[in-house]
Symmetry: C2
Amino acid sequence: MNAFPTTRLAQMANAIRALSMDAVQAANSGHPGMPMGMADVATVLWAKHMKFDPAAPGWADRDRFILSAGHGSMLLYSLLHLTGFEDMTLDQIKQFRQLDSLTPGHPEYGHTVGVEATTGPLGQGISMSVGFALAERMLNARYGDGLVDHRTWVIASDGDLQEGISHEAISLAGHLKLNRLCVLWDDNEISIDGPTNLSESTDTLKRFEAAGWAVSRVDGHDIDAVDAAITAAKTSDRPVLIACRTTIGYGAPTKAGTAGSHGAPLGAEEIAGTRKALGWSHGPFEIPDDIYADWRSAAASDAHAAWCDRLSASDLAGEFVSQLSGDAGEAERAALTAWRLQVAADRPDLASRVASSKALAAIIGDWPGLVGGSADLTGSNLTKTPDVGVVSAESYAGQYIHFGIREHGMAACANGIALHGGFRAHVATFLVFADYCRPAMRLSSLMQQPVIYVLTHDSIGLGEDGPTHQPVETLASLRAIPNMHVYRPADALETAEAWEMALMRLDGPSVLALSRQTLPFLRDDGGEENRSSRGAYILRDTTGEPDIILVATGSEVGLAVDAAAQLAETGIAARVVSAPCIDLFLEQGRRYRDEILPPGVPCIGVEAALRYGWDALIGSDGDFVGMTGFGASAPAGQLYELFGITADAIVEKARKRLSR
Amino acid sequence: MNAFPTTRLAQMANAIRALSMDAVQAANSGHPGMPMGMADVATVLWAKHMKFDPAAPGWADRDRFILSAGHGSMLLYSLLHLTGFEDMTLDQIKQFRQLDSLTPGHPEYGHTVGVEATTGPLGQGISMSVGFALAERMLNARYGDGLVDHRTWVIASDGDLQEGISHEAISLAGHLKLNRLCVLWDDNEISIDGPTNLSESTDTLKRFEAAGWAVSRVDGHDIDAVDAAITAAKTSDRPVLIACRTTIGYGAPTKAGTAGSHGAPLGAEEIAGTRKALGWSHGPFEIPDDIYADWRSAAASDAHAAWCDRLSASDLAGEFVSQLSGDAGEAERAALTAWRLQVAADRPDLASRVASSKALAAIIGDWPGLVGGSADLTGSNLTKTPDVGVVSAESYAGQYIHFGIREHGMAACANGIALHGGFRAHVATFLVFADYCRPAMRLSSLMQQPVIYVLTHDSIGLGEDGPTHQPVETLASLRAIPNMHVYRPADALETAEAWEMALMRLDGPSVLALSRQTLPFLRDDGGEENRSSRGAYILRDTTGEPDIILVATGSEVGLAVDAAAQLAETGIAARVVSAPCIDLFLEQGRRYRDEILPPGVPCIGVEAALRYGWDALIGSDGDFVGMTGFGASAPAGQLYELFGITADAIVEKARKRLSR
């Protein structure tokens, strides 16, 4: 690695401080304190230890750097600029927090090259980093040290560590002995409200040790000490926490060490004083050529070229590149199609969670990059397929992860796995506990990561566990998230289709909401076409124009079919529309939507959930058969009766409507 | 305390085991393993240490027992039955998990007397218990040991401790030195997936020590050891964790110690074997009289009577009873009305978060039972009013709590404070971080607890922090929760009204979604009536019938008013409806709703958020001016332009609509 003298590194760090305070000042908003406090640590890391190539930001074997404390985004932007990431020009730095700049308030994955993960919501970065570190080990187990041998570095704040998700993440990382994960904690003893001791008395080193981490403490402004700690971290057999005691806003004459430097511009006078204190005599946004030269030389390395040579020489090169691409290959696609056709032929009556399990079992042999797990509901979610290997500290070669009762950490871990590349991740819990995953699910959507959420026990149909476990508002709350596709399949074939859609999707997450209870097989079309692909379709039509349309999802589609049959006996022509993915349906063109739900024909929505959001399909004058509040504890059949979600209730609503 | 011989206590514990396994078997679903494993610990606690009076379940100074591992509900129901809670008859036990029974799958507050909190979603109970323990200390600080001197006991499972929220809760409890909180951890080394070491390697005792807790470990079937540990816990100066090493399904010949006893009936044969192993020769649901007698004698105590005497003799009795009632007194009501009238007279242009701050400041002197805090966003949420005292381990007398960056734990703590009684709790963070609080918010709604969520920075109007911090789907996701009232006030007067509504509400939670940016004062009516009370109302009307109606909330109401003025100039009569609480409006009768939004008049909804859920107001053929996806990082004004949320855009939509 590069051998810069300590004094030189200190000047390189000052470049970060200067850019950060100048950019925040120009934007008149932002967070100068953290970049200024962690500049020394970041400089040691990026100049002496990180393996990366600014000319090849997507290099598969690069070290990953996650700025969990995303509000300190100017730290990352400064590093990208100084090390020579092409897009990150000085103009972009000057445009910090402005519209269309590459330097938004918080780092955004997919928006800015070199940003590995969108961060800002605290705790997410450190938790995604566990997924990164796990993906690295899983890929290493498949392709060996020659192709996969990198580290995940995290800068985390007090807030990241106070958030509950950090507990789930660090205990999982400790359990899995992810020793290539290193968290540099910005231990500056300051949070927004003031000194951290206003709300915090935890012995953080002891806490991490309890979770199975190696820990050390350094003065974050002692460059040699930081260097030594990072060097030591690279030989650990466990994940590593380095507590870096820093001064927030380091260098600012009156605001350093105070909450005053955390989240607001320092002001012209304070900035002038900082320049003086740091011995930084250059103007705003002015970086001397020799500092640029040092940073560029620090970023230069032949590691990437050597790796490329190893890849070229490897027997596994083709497979590796293909797995990294993330796209489904021919075998994967063929497996999905074959399974769809087989289900259509077999016509099994199955709980959709069971249908999901069979779909996974049928395809997983052809999807080596498909990994996933459950938050301690393996026997309920049914995503552990027969003969699949379990990922553990002893072997990372498996495809199933026991996440423990850590829904939020699990979802963030899946985001990390997806962002890392090489794997598609599915994670599972009960639908109602999507609430526990929600901040991470929002990030899946925002970062356009194709994480698959398998959420079973999707209604009062779960029965006796009662209202704490029965989702009623959960489907609505998930459909409301932009870019989240929520599937609620009606039978085994729609379940196969949902898996196919979710796995073929590359630009966003999918939810599979699945029933605990058995559902009748409903489809007669042979499965040649994935009918779920347009979100909703006509499952049972009338011969002429329909008098009324029954729009249902999941376990209630069968009820709608029964109701339509009853209505037909009394001369009422009811079309049944199955809507496995309302989000996708609403994205279809007006023509298709009007074909399925012709304007003017009255609609009845049927779903064992709240009406909230349904008016977009059925109109505000439409009728709805579903829930109006929380559920109750009783056998499922009794609950459907109690809450009036039955074929009879649909028939009655239809008759009433048509007699108006 | 009662001095039962150890052997007798073991028999009393066996009664819990027998009832639990029999009830689960009869229901053909449920969780026998935990009650059977923790029966000894629970017996020692309830028979020898807990202060309670089955005849007065609401006694203010009773110890609180929180079954965080709510799936083990039969443990609690057995205890309530055996100790003589009147409603908990043997018939109710036999009706376990059946419709309308008092013995639902998970304990439900408000449904079953003796259940202090609804539990089941893991981590919530232990986190609410921190609120209980804090409320006790806060009440003690006001009324002294004579009236307030009780403890909070928790039984928690591995799952409770794996959940991230537990980290937030225990670190807050440790920081606040809540020494009257004792967690009995059911350390049975089994979770649903199998042995806990499938996913867990944490040194839990060390973890709790790091959080500032006193810890000990006992054999959970050694009654004397458990007794000693609990006795010692009562003298601790810190919260206490007792790790109780137990055998799940204790007594079951083949299933004890395995995941097989966790969540399913044992089966007739295994139950017979258990009876034999335990030396319990009685039939199903049969408890011998002498066991009943012992349990009743254990529950008998003169502590309640003595406390009543102290209350009668206390100068503070009136005040105490009044504060405990939870209802607003005359002074509180008067303060709210006075503030509403003053704001109406002053007509200030204020960010609604500032208006909220002033409202709180104006009334808090008359609301001694009003406490709250922020998740480290005190200066942003503005709920810390001048001169208010801060709650700390040194003094619990204040009204403001620095919760730290622990949104989820904060919300659960607020639930605990509300359930405990004596206080009204408000908690604050950014609106987008409601996602972090969501499982606890759902419980506020389900338990009908009037927690007030002050959620500021409620739209793209927060500007440069970008899409991670800008809620777009959050309002919809909260409105979707049954019994949650979501207010988004348009000006300072509506903000005062929202606080008034939220504080006068006793049967459920409220959200106040507040702007970062300044909002113009809009109301001309003098504030005599709380116009927000019906959810939506006509803010600006036309002289004749309106051509079109603009329905807006919060920061966009001002835009609608401007648009209506522009439209008036071109001869289009636009009514402006302000809808500060859509939930409340949709609960109004058809007559009122039709008066505000007459059928047939086209509507345009205006809200800087997604349309999701709005069709219920504006019809699926209504127009909408708002967001269609995630936000962006830039100054707020530019974002409103970028996303087309402007008076001009409303005017254009209205013209287009009327020219169709």
